[in-house]
Every structure is written in C-alpha cells, then in structure tokens.
C-alpha cells in the first residue's frame, strides 16, 4: 500500500504540473485511498498552490478490473454538463482519459465535505429525520429527471433511445453479458427472453442516473434543517438518456429496499406519490415492475463481469451472480 501511495502521489503531481490551468504546479499533500466505491479506486489529496491556496480533490481511477467497465471521459463530460444545472454533483477538474499520466483512466474532481451511508434511511436517526431525508432523495431524483439534457449538451454524449429505452438498455447489458460470461448462464438467457418479450415503451426521455442510492450521496449534518443535507450525488458512470421509470425501478427493486425505503413510513406508495407531485409525471407501475426485474438482470450481469475480472486476476473479490439475484429473476419469469 505504501508503494501504491508513493507512486500515485508522484503521478498526480506530474499530471497536475502538465495541466495549463493548474499552473504554477501545486504540491500534492495528504494522499490516501478510501474504501468506498466498489467499481473505482478513489484517492483523496489536497493540492496546495504556491500562493497558499488549498483545494481538496479526489482522483477517481479505473481499477484493473471489477464489476463495471465504464468510460471516465463520459463521466467527466456528464459532470461538466451538470455544472449548469440544479443537480448537486462534484466539480470535474481534470481528465486523464487514457491513463497516460495516472496509470489507468482517471478523472480528478473537487472533494466535497460529507459522508456516504448506504443504509442511512434505516439508521439510528429519528424516523421524522429519515423520512425527511427520503423525501430529499426523491426530490433529487426528480431534479435529475428534470434536467434539460439537450440544453446541457448531453444529446451529443448519449443517444436518445426514445420510446425504445427499455430495449436499448437490454441490448447494452446483453452485450456486456455476451462479452464477459465465462460459462453458459441459461438462467440469465431465460430472464433476458422474458425481459425482451415484456419490455415497456418509454413515455419520455430523461437523464437517468443508473445507480441512484444513498450510498452514492454525500451527506452533511444540517443543524437548521430536519435532516442531513445532500451535498453531492456521486458515481455518474452509468448515467444515460432513457426512461424515468428506470431509476424508479432501480430504487424500488425488492433486493435493495433497506437502502431506499422505510417500513411503514416511506414505502413505494409514498415515494411514487411524492415523485408524481414533484414531476407532474405519472408513475407507470407496470413499467416500474419491469425495471425492477431489469435491475436484477443488470446486477447479475455486473456480477458476471466481476467473475471474469476475478478469474483473470484483475480483482480480488470472487464475484458470481448471487442466488438472491437469480431467484428474483426466476420469480419474475414464473409470475
């Protein structure tokens, strides 16, 4: 680990020195790797310029392998596009798209204060505070879906799939499955056939986050408010244009209710009612159920990619499609 720190520290210093808008070259202090984020390496550091200005920064670097292989240049462009919107997201500073400087493709973002907690909605805070935070998460999702993606330039980055958003995402993840699987997976083929036969049409095209969850939100205590403040939403690597029901399906998938819902106080009904009030868009319950199943399929495909990474020695976690995820898919086919 010490060698890793020394190496990345030198690489970051050299990378910043090569950025015209960072001149004169800052000093790199306090570098440390943080464990959150299973798909990317996150390195924290402070850049200190000769005039004493200090900027807290974070490098988000591709690991050798893992659950996801996504493009840092795309994520960087999304973050840049979001700067002109009401969506709180990290400020993107510099990009090493090829990894020529930092060893692997990376982006450098401004580091915001706060902490991430996957299960904050079911943590020790009072119920009223947790419900208020759940409402804020819902409103944040509504804000993302309200982004004028064409005006923000995201139409140049992503294809607009129109009503065929579900088929578009299925094609995308089926291609990943074909590319990464090491062995036959008839369970996933069965689920894929079911998903293709039952894919809904999308009634609108919005910016979809693709991995919306409390674990990707930086929270800061707010003594004047009813609950913590959401400082920034992180991990935009799966963002794309698509069906607003997709994010709703992701956050209401039965296997992850503890992250998104609160028994008896913030159930699907409350979430959908608030989303409808905020967005003036009807929630299509059948479509959400389809996206629930799709979410399990997408998870299984990511786990399949993780398995390949493990077998090829690019990550240490022995991923494989888990029994609960496969059971959820089989239940959908049998329903």
């Amino acid at each position: 680990m010490t060698d890793d720190v020394g190496e990345i520290s030198e690489r970051i210093a050299a990378f910043l020195a090569a950025q015209p808008d960072a001149a004169p070259a800052p000093r790199v202090d306090g570098i440390a790797r943080i464990g959150v984020g299973r798909s990317r390496e996150n390195w924290l550091f402070d850049a200190t310029w000769p005039d004493g200005t200090v900027e807290p920064l974070i490098v988000r670097r591709d690991p050798p392998g893992g659950l996801l292989e996504t493009d840092r240049a795309t994520e960087f462009a999304v973050l840049r596009a979001l700067e002109a919107t009401a969506v709180p997201a990290p400020v993107a500073r510099w990009l090493d798209a090829t990894g020529r400087h930092l060893g692997r493709p990376s982006l450098v973002m401004r580091r915001e204060p706060g902490t991430c907690d996957y299960f904050v909605l079911n943590g020790p805070d009072p119920l009223a505070s947790r419900v208020a935070l759940a409402e804020r998460f819902c409103d944040l999702l509504a804000n993302i879906h309200a982004v004028d993606w064409a005006a923000a330039g995201l139409g140049h980055l992503f294809a607009d799939p129109g009503p065929a958003a579900a088929d578009h995402e299925l094609d995308r993840w089926a291609a990943v499955l074909r590319q990464d699987r090491l062995e036959p997976t008839p369970e996933l083929d069965l689920a894929l056939a079911w998903l293709r036969e039952t894919a809904p049409s999308s009634s609108a095209t919005v910016l979809v986050h693709g991995d919306f969850k409390a674990g990707n939100a930086l929270l800061l205590d707010d003594e004047d408010g009813p609950c913590p403040r959401i400082v920034a939403l992180l991990d935009w690597e799966l963002a794309h244009l698509g069906d607003p029901m997709e994010d709703l399906g992701w956050i209401t998938q039965p296997l992850r209710t503890r992250e998104h819902l609160i028994d008896g106080a913030w159930e699907r009904e409350q979430l959908f009612a608030r989303y409808e009030r905020t967005t003036d868009r009807a929630v299509d319950l059948d479509a959400v159920r389809w996206w629930n199943v799709f979410s399990s399929f997408k998870t299984a495909v990511m786990q399949t990619s993780g398995l390949r990474s493990f077998v090829e020695g690019r990550c240490d976690e022995p991923y494989r499609p888990t029994a609960p995820v496969l059971r959820a898919l089989l239940d959908a086919v049998a329903a």
Partner: protein
C-alpha cells in the same frame, strides 16, 4: 490418504490464524487476512460437494432437455435428444466419474444446450409450461449449489 484435502485446508487455516492473532499487522493486511480465512472456511465447507453437485446437475439437465426436445425443431431437436440420451445411457468409468474437470466441462455443454433451447422455445401454453419447467430446474440447482451455502465468518484479526 492423510493428510486429506480437508486436513490440509484446516492446517492452512491454522497458519493464517496464528498470523492473525500474532498482532502487528497493518489494518489493510489484517483485513486481507480475515478475508483469506473467510474464503478458506468457505472452501473447506464446499469443495467436496462440487463433484456430486455437478454430477447430479448433469443428470437433471439432461432429463430436462429430454422433456424439452419435442418443443424445438430441426437439427436442434436432434442435438438435444442425442445429448439427453447420451447422458442417460452413459456409464462413465470410475476414473471419468471422479474427474471433476471433465464433469464440469460436461455441465457447461449441457447448460449451453439448455440456453440454446430456451432461445428456441415456442410461445403459447406449451412454451409457457416449458419455461416454468426451466425455472423449477434452475431453482433446484440454486438450492443445491454448494457455493451458495452460507458459512460463519471467522473472528476478526487483532492486528
């Protein structure tokens, strides 16, 4: 023949436990050691079940393929019927029956064929019944898969 695989795995576990309780480990090393102990325990509890699991799954998959063969047509129907019959008639030598790599390779062949059949299933009631049969088979497989069994975590390292 001693030491058996189980005995050797337990011996490796003891070595790791000594290292874990010896102290002085950096937090990252202690975490890695705990993870290695957890995975070793999982392996101890599952490796011996892999061959019987695969052998039983090959038989069950072949039976399912025999059931589905009439629903597909052409060359695929012949291929499916032949694979199912081959599995039913086959009396592997004792050595082949204990060759886990060969049994696993056969499992891959049969599952690949099942995936092909799934893509070729017709619609309607017959297709629906066939899909439900595949679901039932897959659920039984998940229940029996030794790698899905849960094992307790070892006590954390003190390092």
């Amino acid at each position: 023949m001693h030491p058996t695989v189980d005995e050797q795995l337990r011996g490796i576990g003891r070595l790791l436990e000594h290292a874990a309780t010896g102290g002085g480990l950096a937090p990252a090393s202690a975490d890695a050691l705990d993870e290695a102990r957890r995975r070793l325990r999982r392996l101890e509890g599952s490796w011996a079940q892999v061959l019987p699991f695969l052998t039983a799954d090959n038989r069950a998959t072949a039976e399912l393929l025999a059931e589905l063969a009439p629903l597909v047509s052409g060359a695929l129907a012949h291929e499916v019927a032949a694979a199912a019959a081959h599995e039913a008639d086959r009396a592997p030598t004792p050595a082949a029956a204990l060759d886990v790599a060969a049994v696993a390779a056969r499992n891959d062949e049969l599952r690949a064929l099942l995936a092909t059949v799934i893509a070729a299933l017709p619609g309607g009631d017959a297709g629906r019944a066939a899909r439900l049969a595949v679901v039932a088979h897959a659920r039984r497989r998940l229940d029996a898969d030794p790698l899905n069994a849960r094992f307790p975590r070892p006590a954390p390292s003190g390092g």
